[in-house]
């Protein structure tokens, strides 16, 4: 038999199997985590979501503090990072070519810095700074510079370059004709950005937002260093807090039995949150694609 007769189907199947690996892995994540957290679910039931206990002595565990910390830090990070990333991307696109290239590369490099370095910097530079700031302002702060606000700040610094890089690429893909037309009828730069760039690239912008959201949600190291790792539902900006990822990193190595199972349950919750974000993003884009005139 000639080589060409069998090489094609074999190659095709090999590639197909490799591609299926990705889907298989995703399913395996859910199955494995659900399997490993079964004990915790049967022990605590749905009460696991609303319980604030974390007591290794009595073996009582609840997820609420970790979930609340994760959600709050993510919201703070997005609220700070989104507008900054949006206007930075606008500036980069509008800047003269040499400056645009330089700044674009700076943003790319900023996005490449490992998160552990943000954590280290946060702990040794930002935390003392925040502490001094609160003392200078005379604000009562129990946890030094640690806590919810500092975690949100570090996260926002971390996700800003990601979102900015995506938005910049989206703005660059807008056909120049559209922007020039807008300028031609007398729009200012901001009006062009708001009414042309933003509407044309909404798909990409959302993509960037969701990338940032996913990063902030699952980030471990940057938060671990500055959150304070206090198992409580934070009520003020200066309260110590913890996130799901930080709780896992802190407790998993020493945990066993039901505590380990509870940690796996936390992991599953984080996974489902990340999954839900993806599904929401895809769903929204599909629902609004007709309105935006795609297809």
């Amino acid at each position: 038999m000639r080589a060409s007769a069998w090489s094609d189907p074999v190659f095709r199947w090999l590639c197909k199997i490799c591609a299926m690996l990705c889907g298989l892995l995703m399913v395996a994540f859910f199955v494995q985590l659900a399997f490993a957290s079964g004990e915790a679910w049967s022990e605590f039931g749905l009460g696991f979501f609303v319980s604030t206990e974390w007591d290794p002595v009595r073996d009582l565990y609840g997820a609420l503090p970790s979930i609340a910390g994760t959600v709050f830090t993510t919201i703070i990070a997005l609220v700070i990072a989104l507008p900054l990333a949006f206007v930075s991307a606008l500036f980069i696109v509008d800047a003269p070519p040499w400056l645009s290239r330089l700044l674009g590369q700076a943003v790319d490099l900023l996005a490449a810095i490992p998160s552990i370095i943000y954590g280290m910097w946060g702990l040794f530079v930002l935390v003392p700074l925040m502490d001094k700031l609160w003392i200078a302002l005379g604000v009562d702060h129990e946890y030094g510079g640690l806590g919810l606000l500092t975690s949100g700040l570090i996260l926002s610094l971390m996700i800003l370059p990601y979102i900015c890089a995506v938005m910049r690429d989206v703005f660059r893909m807008t056909p120049p004709m559209l922007r020039e037309s807008a300028f031609g009828i007398g729009c200012t730069r901001w009006e062009t950005a708001r009414d042309i760039l933003m509407r044309y690239g909404i798909r990409g912008l959302l993509g960037g937002i969701f990338i940032g959201l996913g990063r902030a949600l699952g980030e471990t190291m940057a938060v671990l260093f500055v959150a304070g790792n206090i198992m409580q539902v934070p009520v003020g900006f200066l309260d110590g807090c913890t996130t799901i990822a930080a709780t896992l990193a802190n407790n998993f190595a020493e945990a066993d039995g039901i505590q380990r199972s509870a940690l796996f349950a936390l992991g599953l919750i984080l996974l489902v949150m990340a999954f839900a974000i993806q599904v929401l993003a895809q769903y929204y884009l599909r629902m609004t694609s007709a309105k935006r005139g795609e297809k």
């Binding site: 900054l84 930075s88 500036f91 700076a106 040794f124 901001w190 996913g214 471990t220 896992l248 993806q278």
Partner: protein, 306 residues
């Protein structure tokens, strides 16, 4: 009877869709106000960018200043030592290289095959769309969850953490990234190239590997390098899988293996001045490593066409 085409009052809706500039509705925005708004946004964007770049420089300066205190040839070539003893980060550096390179070895070939399938065979089929979606989910997967997963499938059955388990978790993080980059790069190759290859009588296999992949080579290499750079600084998945060891990585496949990110985590959390200094030194090393891979990938393999 009313004609059907004429809507009744109740059905009439406000005109939808983007109005370009809202000039029609009084009070008109004056030119002064519009220009002021434009300038304010401009000032805001300069400030935002200055903040972002300023913070980057601040972080890099901090690492450079504090890290250079620790840096020396001995620091890079001796093993770690507990507090009070003179130690380096040599074992962690070597461990990071082992773990990262082995991860690339595991992840890159199947990921490229998967990307080829999506671009050349799967295209817009339902299965391909589902796999693209799963790749997106995997890319947004929190890295610590990957650590949990690998702990369950490798560390728990083997009874010990190992560098191999660390490599597998990094490989899982790399896989979807390389897969999607490969697909994107292959899609940019014009169809005429495929058709001319097939017209010469080559098989699909040879056309793909020898013509299409060759044409997309630069982009693919850049994608692989960037993903290697990204995972080499990952800490969270290594915490439970590779863990840490004070010795040289001589038991990569069945024993804990040191790595730079985990070392920074351990030393940064410690209360001893000398360990913290070593942690800054390690931060400097990993930052230089990651940033230089990034710069090499962007400069050396940049497509001349773009």
């Amino acid at each position: 009877m009313e004609p059907i085409s004429k809507p009744t009052v109740g059905e009439r809706t406000a005109p939808t869709g983007p109005a370009l500039i809202n000039l029609g509705r009084p009070p008109y925005k004056t030119l002064f106000w519009r220009k002021l708004q434009d300038n304010l946004v401009q000032a805001f964007s300069v400030a935002a960018l200055a903040l972002a770049v300023g913070v980057m420089l601040w972080i890099l300066c901090t690492i450079l200043v504090r890290g250079s205190e620790a840096l020396s040839w001995d620091f890079l070539t001796t093993t770690t030592a507990p507090h009070g003893f003179k130690g380096g980060i040599g074992n962690a550096l070597l461990g990071t290289l082992y773990i990262t390179l082995f991860a690339a070895l595991i992840a890159v070939p199947p990921a490229i095959c998967a990307g080829i399938w999506l671009a050349e065979f799967g295209k817009q089929s339902r299965l391909a769309d589902a796999l693209r979606f799963s790749a997106n989910v995997m890319m947004g997967m929190p890295s610590i969850v990957v650590g949990l997963f690998v702990y369950m499938i490798l560390v728990a059955p083997m009874g010990a953490s190992s560098g191999l388990a660390g490599s597998v978790s990094l490989a899982i993080l790399m896989f979807p990234v390389v897969m999607r980059t490969t697909e994107d790069m292959l899609m940019m190759v014009p169809d005429t190239l495929r058709e001319s290859g097939l017209a010469l009588g080559l098989t699909r296999c040879r056309v793909t590997l020898q013509i299409i992949c060759k044409a997309a080579r630069n982009g693919m290499v850049t994608g692989v390098l960037l993903s290697v750079a990204r995972v080499s600084g990952e800490t969270a998945p290594l915490l439970f899988t590779a863990q840490f060891a004070q010795t040289w990585p001589n038991a990569f496949f069945n024993g804990p293996t040191a790595s730079i990110p985990v070392l920074i985590n351990n030393y940064g959390m410690s209360n001893f001045e000398d360990l913290q200094t070593a942690g800054w030194g390690a931060s400097l090393v990993i930052a230089v490593l990651v940033l230089s891979i990034n710069i090499i990938a962007r400069v050396a393999f940049r497509d001349k066409k773009h």
